[in-house]
Subunit: 437 residues, 2 copies
């Protein structure tokens, strides 16, 4: 072994956790997974590396610059930068073998070679669900998706949150009616900033786009509509806009709000927000963002929407869909920084088996009994004084210690100490699982 | 959207599954994870991409040629090719923040740009556990590791299996005593092939290495020792070899066999196999291989061993450890080909809620009740005839259908059909979870 040591380190923009944080991270990830599965989303696990021509069919501009792309042998390959493109490729490739609507979840890492900065990661988990239809997908799913969001953030328990929703047809129809169809992309980009830069600067940007003051004011009045979801829908109808696109959008929005109520989503947990546009050339119907009411500065923690054509780059078959994504790595790092989540335990171990001057056979049987009951158990093998064993249990925050001395072995018993309350009880070996919470 | 379509496809050597197989794969993965956690191994999730100088500190030859390595900006980076090097880097980097012995598991994908061939993957899951000591690690862990293997393969239920074990000190000491210390690497490589090429060809290879016939016969006699574990240990002692290394190795082997019995590992599930050498310059004590008795041709499905110095490339601190790895992607593909595992279900969904001409509010409440009880539930939203709904449940192999018509809504009931037995029962809404297995 060489004497020259290489400094052990990772690259900036990559999150790696100590066990305590990793356990906490996994709890969030498992909660999201469990809810996704409870709604019938099926697991998918696509390769991290794909052929560049497949993965970059749609990319361009900023996205393409961020890709980790390289050649090995004669093959031009790239690391996935999201889970949507691989889903599109997968659905197009396997359409004949899937049952539609195809509901899948994928919780995987994606890669973007961004300039590292606070809150930006080069490797991060996305937790995605999508529902893909073959030719068509009923509107009811536009309400099932927020129902999934509602379940997840209720379970994650980060306090009150709001699912903001909008419909791209409402936006597109409105701008068409003003004769601004050509400018929609630019207008949406300006509108998207309203929370950050305020109404006046948005108006200035609209003027820069060559939109006159009157139309600019109309746009601001439109996105500034106030009131409950029902009131906003009423106000939209009263605008008297003659655009089929607009009216279809308002109908969809109204129906989706009604359906969300059917799904039991508490009225105070959602709101129509006409400023939400999301991806500029992708979404075509309902769009969502989710904000934590007490941590609005985090921005949207769960976003998505409906799109008409997932697979257009790969197949002529029309595949509309709807989906959302949670950027878990970023969310975790923000919540931790905000101390909204704090580690609960340094270990997943529930019981430390501590033999006290006895042969290991009986303590190991106790450990087996516990593991068979689904209780994670560690054995303290080293022949040390009891205080060392207790100190270790305390340090690792293991909630129970099973003490096994000569008396316990002789009588077929175990003495269980609850490390939180300090209580100690002696039970029969086969009853030990019952005294562990 | 362009009319020219890109053929949706993935690269050879990358495994991607349809949902039915993915569900089966995840069951295996979760079983392994659950057992690892039940023994107190903590989760770890290192980056896929690391700095090349860190990741390739130890690599060379074949390994280095297989690495996916590239430069982005000024940074020379590579995709991990195993989970051991990242573990070494992690432990060296965070030694001050970890509690030793540090027990971690990592179940992650690794990357090797091999020439694609049957049974070889370029992206595959490794399921690793390691126990790392600071300066020293008690011998008892050499028995805990096979106890974990025993639990996993009992649970996975692929039939009878054998954990074969050996000790590198026994091998090294034996060859030292023959004055063959210089040739150990080559001899071990020859011996490793005995199952494939037979004793005679191994003897020929030994002759090619300049080992005379007498020594060659001694080597074959040594690795061919017969009998139970205890008998082999007895035979090793009777060889009367005067080498401290050898005798320490025999002591460790004997103690480990005794400890494995303490751990409750059935005698018929393990055997000493003096031909096992494993990695040539890495392991220093106990080594393991695991074979499925009915599918020996699969080779070892779970291998590992003890090493003296995990972190030597990164730190002067001495960190001995012991670990095993299961190559799950390869194992899965082999077991599937051998039809030793077969899909049990096309979905993780347990209940399909089928509304029959009623408003969705009540069926959605039923779905919520089921999900709150941890039962994955899908709702059939489309307003189609009952036979379509039953057909869908059958196709997806969903085990229960909850039928909700006008009577059920009026009476606050649900009619549950068991799709396996055909039995149908009507229960109160709040009791539905009780009739689902």
């Amino acid at each position: 072994m060489s004497d020259k040591k290489i400094q052990p380190r990772i690259m900036p923009g990559f999150m790696e956790l100590l066990p305590t944080d990793q356990i906490m991270f996994n709890r969030l990830k498992d909660t999201i997974k469990d809810v996704y599965e409870s709604y019938g989303f099926l697991p998918l696990d696509t390769p991290v590396l794909e052929l560049s021509d497949v993965l970059l069919a749609k990319a361009g501009g900023e996205t393409e610059k961020q890709i980790y792309r390289f050649t090995k042998g004669d093959t031009d390959m790239a690391m996935r930068f999201d889970l949507t493109v691989p889903l599109a490729r997968y659905v197009a490739q396997h359409a004949g073998e899937l049952t539609f609507p195809f509901k899948r979840y994928q919780i995987s890492k994606v890669y973007r070679g961004e300039r590292p900065q606070k809150g930006r990661f080069r490797e991060f988990y996305q937790c995605d669900i999508d529902i893909i239809g073959n030719d068509e997908l009923p509107l009811i799913y536009d309400a099932e998706i927020p129902s999934v969001i509602y379940s997840i953030f209720k379970k994650l328990d980060f306090g009150k949150f709001t699912i903001r929703l909008n419909n791209r047809k409402v936006l597109n129809g409105f701008f068409e009616s003003l004769g601004l169809s050509e400018n929609i992309t630019d207008i949406l980009r300006a509108i998207d900033k309203i929370d950050k830069i305020g109404a006046e600067k948005v108006l200035a940007e609209l003027t820069d786009l060559g939109i006159d003051g009157e139309k600019g004011e109309k746009i601001l009045a439109f996105i500034g509509l106030l009131g409950s979801a029902d009131e906003k829908i009423g106000s939209l109808r009263q605008l008297g806009i003659e655009s089929d696109t607009f009216n279809t959008g308002v109908d969809e929005l109204e129906q989706t709000v009604k359906n969300m109520r059917l799904f039991g989503i508490d009225e105070s947990y959602f709101a129509i927000d006409l400023t939400i546009a999301r991806g500029l050339d992708y979404y075509t119907g309902t769009v969502y963002e989710t904000v934590l009411d007490d941590y609005k500065s985090l921005g949207s923690v769960c976003s998505g929407g409906r799109y008409d054509d997932l697979t257009g780059y790969y197949t002529k078959q029309k595949m509309p869909g709807i989906g959302i994504s949670i950027g878990l790595t970023r969310l975790f790092s923000q919540l931790k920084a905000a101390e909204l989540i704090t580690p609960q335990s340094n270990t997943t171990v529930k019981v430390l088996v501590a033999p006290l001057g006895v042969e290991l056979k009986y303590p190991l049987e106790i450990a087996d009994t516990l593991r068979a009951a689904g209780i994670a158990t560690e054995v303290y093998y080293q022949d040390k004084a009891m205080k060392h064993k207790m100190k270790y249990a305390n340090k690792m925050a293991i909630p129970y210690v099973a003490i096994i001395g000569e008396d316990e072995v002789r009588d077929g018993k175990v003495t269980v100490k609850n490390m939180t309350t300090g209580e100690q009880t002696t039970v029969n070996a086969n009853e030990i699982a019952n005294v562990i919470d």
